[in-house]
Structures are given as C-alpha cells and as structure tokens.
C-alpha cells in the first residue's frame, strides 16, 4: 500500500469521525440555554425587538429545520452568518486563523527547541543537575496555571522592565510573551518524554551494535539514538500542537491575542451558534488532521511503522 492510499484511507476515516463530531457539536451548541436575540439586543431591550431579531435569525423555527437549513448551506460551502457580527463565519475564522497558527507553531517550536536538547542532556547524564532540572521543570511548568505565568511574564517584562509589549499582536515582538507562556507549560512534559525516549534508545541493542562497530559517540547519538527517539517526541509535540491549534483560550485572553480560542469563547458566551459551530468544526478538523499528519510523519521516520500502519489500514 502506498503513502497516497494510506493518506486517502486515513482521510476517509477522519471524515467519518468528523461527521460524528459534527452532529454532536451541532446538538451541544444549539441546546445550550440562552437566547442570542436577547444577547444581541441587551437586557434592557423590548420584547418586540427581541422577537423580531429571533425571527430574523431563523431561531423561531424548530431545531430539525434549523439543522436541515444549516446542512443545506454547508453543502453549498457556506458556514453561515455570524449572529453577533452579521458577517460570514468563514471570514471571521480566516481573520483569526493566522494568529492562532502563528502562536501555536512558535510556541511549539520554542518548546521543542528548548525541551529536546534538555531532554537529551538529561538522558545522557541521568544523575546530573540538568536531568533534575528537567524533572523540576516538568512538574512546575505543568502545575502552574497558565494565567499566572502569563500575568507574571507581563509584569516582569512589560511593566517592570519595559522590554516587551504587554499584549496585542502588532509586531513579531508581540508573540514572544504568549508563546513563552505556552512553551513554559509545554516544555517540561516534552523534555521528560524526550529524556525517556532517548534513555530507551540508549539502552537498545542496536546502539550496542553501533558501539561494536567502533562508531564515534556523536554519530551514535545522532544516528542511532536521536533518530530512533523521534516518534515519541513527535507524538507528544503533535498532540500539543493539535491542542494549541484549537486555541489556547486562557493565553489568548491574557495576552489579548486575537486567535481562534478567544473567538470560540466569545461565540459560545454570545450563543453565536453558526460561529461557534464553525470554530469548533475547525478545531476538531485540525485535531483530526494533525493526527493523520503525525501518522504519516511516523511512517516517514520509521519504516517499520510504515508497514504496520498500512497493514492496519
């Protein structure tokens, strides 16, 4: 089975998952108590105004009818119109998407570039200070609430030191603090996984073979240890990335970063059904896609996995 076949197969499978999730999302979002019409008009609005808005949005019709209408427009490639903004949902998502992508990738890249060297060092010297630092980072980083870290960084680097902007997304400088906040949360776990993977590789038999050949330490490390440790590192990094693509809600809120996560929260708290559905569908889709891409990456990294995956398919 070829890579292409496999990809097609996985996409088909992912699509089924997506459809299931889609139905669930629709129901969940629509069944949330709350009336967008009243939210639009504000609490002080008059009942007649609210009813007019409700009719305008088609919210006075039965749920199944709304579902059919929504599906029909979806089939035409139309994600609907945001209740809050009155603009196409797709437009709203696309406006936020670059920010989410940028934050997710920068944060993950930062986390990986710190965590992998740390993890490797820790694995090579399991009793050393670095190793212990990794353990400490792992637990501390993962146990401090993100808003704490975020606000702390803002106050140190923006308010006290005036080195970096506190919030917003106007220049490349603006991405430093939010991505550092996320990376701080991610780095420990990633480093711990790296350390475990490298230690496992180090103790594997093919490394003994490599030593028996008389290969130099560096070559053994790069070729026979790191390369073989890639899969667990990839797995964790991609799971993290998938979660980040769904929007780092708290970080985005703290740093006023205009990404998907804050859009989701906004739309949910506004009961902006089409927008919320659109965002969640995007999130879920990104999650599923990331999983597929990861599996394909595995196949590229490890020829064994290639065969196992393809057989499973």
């Amino acid at each position: 089975m070829s890579l292409l076949n496999y990809t097609v197969y996985r996409l088909a499978q992912g699509f089924i998952t997506f459809l299931g999730a889609f139905l669930l999302i629709f129901l969940f979002v629509r069944l949330l108590p709350g009336d967008p019409a009243r939210l639009i008009a504000g609490p002080e609005a008059l009942e007649e105004d609210i009813q007019r808005i409700r009719a305008h949005l088609g919210l006075d019709r039965p749920l199944y009818e709304q579902f059919i209408t929504y599906m029909a427009s979806l089939l035409r490639g139309d994600l609907g119109t945001s209740i809050k903004y009155g603009t196409p949902v797709l437009e709203e998502i696309l406006a936020r998407l670059p920010y989410t992508l940028a934050l997710a990738f920068v944060a993950e890249a930062l986390a990986v570039s710190v965590a992998v060297p740390l993890g490797v060092l820790a694995a090579l010297k399991p009793r050393s200070l670095v190793s212990q630092l990794v353990s400490v980072l792992a637990v501390v980083g993962a146990s401090l609430p993100v808003f704490w870290t975020g606000l702390m960084l803002i106050f140190i680097f923006s308010v006290e030191l005036r080195l970096l902007p506190s919030s917003g997304a106007e220049s490349p400088k603006h991405i430093i603090l939010p991505s550092a906040t996320l990376a701080f949360f991610l780095v420990g776990n990633l480093a711990r996984i790296t350390r475990a993977a490298v230690m496992e590789s180090l103790s594997s038999n093919h490394v003994v073979t490599a030593r028996a050949k008389g290969l130099s330490f560096n070559k053994i490390l790069v070729r026979h240890v790191l390369r073989n440790s890639l899969i667990p590192i990839l797995t964790v990094a991609s799971v993290q990335l998938g979660a980040l693509l769904g929007g780092a809600v708290v970080t985005e809120t703290v740093f006023a970063w205009p990404g998907i996560g804050s859009l989701l929260i906004d739309s949910l708290f506004f009961r902006d059904y089409p927008l919320a559905q659109g965002v969640i569908m995007f999130t879920v889709g990104a999650f599923i896609l990331i999983n597929i891409v990861t599996d394909i990456l595995y196949a590229l990294v490890d020829p064994r996995v290639r065969e196992i995956l393809w057989k499973a398919a």
Binding site: S204, N205, H206, V208, T209, A210, R211, A212, K213, G214, L215, S216, F217, K219, R223, H224, R227, N228, V301, D302, P303, R304, E307
Partner: protein, 318 residues
C-alpha cells in the same frame, strides 16, 4: 599457532542495590589464533557477560572487578573508550544473538554495514556501497544488489544475521565474538550460518569465540569447549573429549539430555539454576549434583588440570 587472547582470573560483577551479582567469577582461559573456542552455558551462567567484557561493551552496573584480558599483548581492561573505539569493529568484532533488535530499524541494512568502514576508514558511509555488496556476496546473501537497500524489517532472520556477520568480517578482525548467533534461527538456517562462519574463518584466519547454550551445536564446530555454570568455569577441553568423556558432573548431565535413549526416561539434573546474588556455598553446582560429597557444600573447587584437561570439581582435586 600463537596465543591471541589470554583471560586471567576475570571477575565481572553487577553492583545492584540488592547486592553484588558475581556474573563472571574467576574465569581464565586462552585462545589461539585461528581457533574456535566454544563457551556453553545456560541462562545466568555468565557467558554473555563474558562476551560483553571481551568486547569492552559492558555497561553500568556491570564492571570488571579484577583480572586481566590480554589481547595480542594489550591489556584490554586498561583501555579507554577512545582506544576501544579503534579496536572494536576493526580487530575485535561481535555478532549478536537476536539480529532483529541489534539492527537499527530506521536505516537500510547496507548503510549500517557501511558504517563500519566509515568508522575506521572515514568518509561517508554511502561511499562504501560496493564494498558492502561484496561483503553480502561473501556471506551468501541472496540478491545483494537489492538487499543493501532493504530495511531490517524487510529481511528474514537469516538475512539479518548475515548482515551482522558482514559487519563483523568487514575489517577482517583478529577476533570474532559470536554471542548465540544462531539461537533465534531455524535449524536449517542455523546450519547454513554455522557453515558460513566456518568458511569465513578459514578464509580470514580470525579466531572465534562462539557462545551458546546449545552444546550439541558446539560439539560440531568448536575446537575447544568451555562449560560455564553460575559464573564459574566448570570444565574446559577439546570438543571430542567433552563429547566422549566429560569430566564434570554438570557436563555429563547436559550430555545425557542431548543424547536421549529412544522412549526411555531421560537422565535429568534436578533443581534449577541458582541465584547469583546468593550462590550456594562451596561448589555452586553441589545442590544439583548427583555425585556431591559432604565437602562440596563447604569447599569451593579450584581449577585443576587432569590429563591435560581443565576442570573445577572436587572429584578431581587431590
């Protein structure tokens, strides 16, 4: 014939929190150039630890406690990792037991063989493709042109073992340590590999230390055989002597299992292999020995020469 290797009173211990494991305890032997020395022993006899010690591949918590390993005049126990690196793969090569796990799954077999050349001749591994193909032909690999590009998981166990053998003989080493090289293989494949090793040995003149639990196999290929039990040498002698006239009760037990009478009760060795953290006092074999004497549980037997043969058993002392 001249002496290539001399092991003197080698002790390899594992220092664990639970206690000290005396995996190899006062083992001495020597090896001539061009000789095949078989080392036979069951699990826990220390034979694999011995192999790793000879190749300088011991890893903590295993350490050489004392003793010397003289290889061509060089004391291997005193070498640093840098000196070892120059030695390994070039003068001392190892063939491992389970070819599946001893090959890196993410590289082609050819690349991994070529790494031996890269390590000792420099340059990039890819330069040595042709040499690897020659090696593959030498080890009678089917379809060498294609196999250099195959990944380990695409090859059968026999093929993988041939890959490991190619690595071992690439630089025509003086000593090949073969640690259970055929145990994971079917008998027909095993027969072929053994045949191949014999051929290669006569071609390169390498000495081989052939380690296995399969005494029957050793009887076919080894010039001399050392029997190990619980970290100790039990007996060392020529293959034919061991086969026809074993001295140590343990060797006798083993042989009787190997040569069963048709539909008769097998001669059995009662009990099981002892713990190496807390081995039996005196002779380590005495709790299972059919010929044990009272003093066997107190006195540790010395290694003695009997008619030019070597054995560690109180039966032959004094």
């Amino acid at each position: 014939m001249s002496e290539l290797l001399k092991v003197e009173a080698l002790k390899v211990y594992y220092r664990l929190p639970q206690g000290v494991v005396r995996a190899v305890d006062e083992v001495s032997f020597s090896l001539e150039r061009g000789e095949v020395l078989g080392i036979a022993g069951e699990s826990g006899s220390g034979k694999s630890t011995l192999a790793m010690a000879l190749a300088g591949l011991l890893r903590p918590p295993a350490v050489i406690e004392s003793g010397r390993i003289i290889f061509d005049g060089l004391d291997l126990t005193k070498l640093g990792e840098g000196e070892w690196r120059k030695l390994r793969g070039r003068r001392i090569a190892v063939i491992f037991q389970d070819p599946g796990t001893y090959l890196n799954p993410v590289y082609t077999s050819g690349f991994q063989v070529a790494e031996v050349y890269e390590a000792h001749r420099g340059g990039r591994a890819s330069r040595y493709v042709e040499l690897v193909k020659d090696l593959y032909r030498k080890v009678k690999m089917a379809d060498p042109e294609r196999r250099v590009h195959s990944y380990p998981h695409q090859m059968s166990g026999g093929m993988k073992q041939r890959v490991l053998i190619s690595m071992a003989i690439a630089e025509k080493p003086d000593l090949i340590i073969a640690d259970e090289p055929t145990s994971a293989l079917d008998v027909t494949i095993q027969a072929e590999i053994v045949e191949l090793l014999k051929e290669l040995k006569s071609e390169t003149g390498s000495s081989i230390i052939f380690i296995t639990h399969d005494l029957a196999l050793l009887l076919e290929i080894a010039d001399r055989i050392m029997i190990m039990y619980a970290g100790k040498m039990a007996e060392l002698g020529r293959s034919s002597e061991i086969r026809d006239n074993p001295l140590h009760p343990y060797t006798r037990g083993l042989l009787s299992v190997l040569k069963p009478e048709r539909k008769q009760k097998l001669a059995s060795i009662p009990g099981s292999i002892p713990s190496l953290i807390d081995p039996p006092k005196g002779c380590r074999f005495h709790p299972r020995c059919p010929m044990a004497m009272p003093e066997c549980s107190r006195v540790e037997p010395r290694t003695v020469k009997v008619n030019g043969r070597t054995v560690s058993c109180l039966l032959y002392e004094g």
